[in-house]
Symmetry: C2
């Protein structure tokens, strides 16, 4: 932060940190939305724009980290303030990963636009919409220091996993029906996995916010519906 | 750390922090090795043991984080010491993710043991060996505060990506040859992807160590050979 002449109050600095993370979250949300739109519309220009924008999220992560280090060094925070700074640093890490997954989905959308379309993309749109809503709710929870809202985000990932499992089985079936579907279906599998991972990272962020606010971990087992690692799909008549 | 009667010196505490991270790294390395061995030997008992052991890595992450928070609050470190603590916290995050990927690979190894074997697993063994070596070298770099060693780890990920690309293409070809290969090949694709992601996280750790030692980022573009997001494989005669 060169040319920063005003000595800010500590509260103002923490507010600013929260805003930086929320801005990063907003950008990550947009990347997810546009990567999915690029996929659905077979829009390679939009996909290319998403890929190019990933460096902005990376830059924001470095900015958040530098600001956190500065706060740690200058303010030597304790207890709740220290937890907020650590949550911001870790959340920015998760958001950077979310950006990577969105960018990887956009790369695959470029390839998919050149291949014959298979199946419906409704499940992808629904998954993307859910993870965006959760991401937005997580950022609001962070800005408002709201543990209950964070817990709701943490609980809301289950439908994402359920849709992912359905997509996984459907795509394997398409592959089995026609080998010409295999390349496209494989890239779609990885995009679905990316969206599922984005949901998981959003859950991580929610956990960190909850901890930052209350100094305590969410203790229950998270409802988790992703069983795809164990899935076996057999070819019809195979 | 209840019942800790001895007041440790600050240097001792930082040494202990490095050792905790290295222990976590050692466990992550073992998880990668055994998940791969379980895959190759179709050993579901070993795979189950890997899956069960993942909670140990999660617990170590919380331990590292709690220790870091304690050091930040009590010692109010500056400059290089602050960077080491932040690197430890972030590296433990990456190691936890590596543990997750190993555990996910082990889950898929369980399924694969029940399906007909396809292709050679030599590429998987080679990838696993490389990421383990890099992980071990990264932990040594951290313990020894060695920026040059960290940079070498950072540079060493390229062959991992190259093997991954080869596996990706080979598995798609197997799928196209026979639809009965599709379920197994899909799980193998995700295992290969997990190993590739483990390599990426090891690279992240190396970057953080470099930064912790020198207070400066590795500036060059990292050699990166993973082009699989753009890959198109066509069925023979398709």
């Amino acid at each position: 932060m060169p040319n920063e002449h005003i000595v800010r109050s500590y509260d103002e600095e923490l507010r600013r940190l929260r805003d930086m993370v929320a801005r990063m979250g907003g950008l990550a949300e947009r990347q997810v939305a546009e990567a999915t739109r690029a996929l659905v519309r077979r829009d390679t220009d939009l996909a290319t724009a998403v890929i190019g924008r990933d460096t902005q999220i990376d830059a924001l992560e470095r900015e958040v980290e530098a600001y956190c280090v500065r706060l740690l060094a200058l303010r030597q925070p304790m207890a709740a303030d220290l937890r907020v700074i650590i949550a911001a640093m870790k959340a920015s890490n998760d958001l950077e990963r979310i950006g990577d997954y969105a960018s990887n989905a956009a790369k695959r959308a470029v390839v998919l636009a050149s291949l014959p379309a298979i199946g419906s993309l409704a499940g992808f749109e629904r998954m993307a919409q859910l993870v965006q809503e959760n991401l937005k709710a997580a950022m609001d929870a962070f800005v408002n220091n709201d543990a209950e809202a964070a817990r709701r985000v943490w609980e809301a990932d289950e439908p994402v996993d359920a849709i992912y499992n359905g997509i996984f089985r459907e795509l394997l079936t398409f592959m089995m029906e026609d080998p010409r579907n295999i390349t496209a279906a494989t890239h779609m599998l990885f995009i679905a996995k990316n969206l599922e991972r984005i949901g998981d990272h959003t859950t991580n962020i929610a956990e960190r916010i909850y901890y930052a606010v209350l100094g305590d971990n969410i203790t229950e087992e998270r409802p988790k519906a992703d069983q795809s690692a164990y899935a076996v799909v057999r070819p019809a008549g195979g």
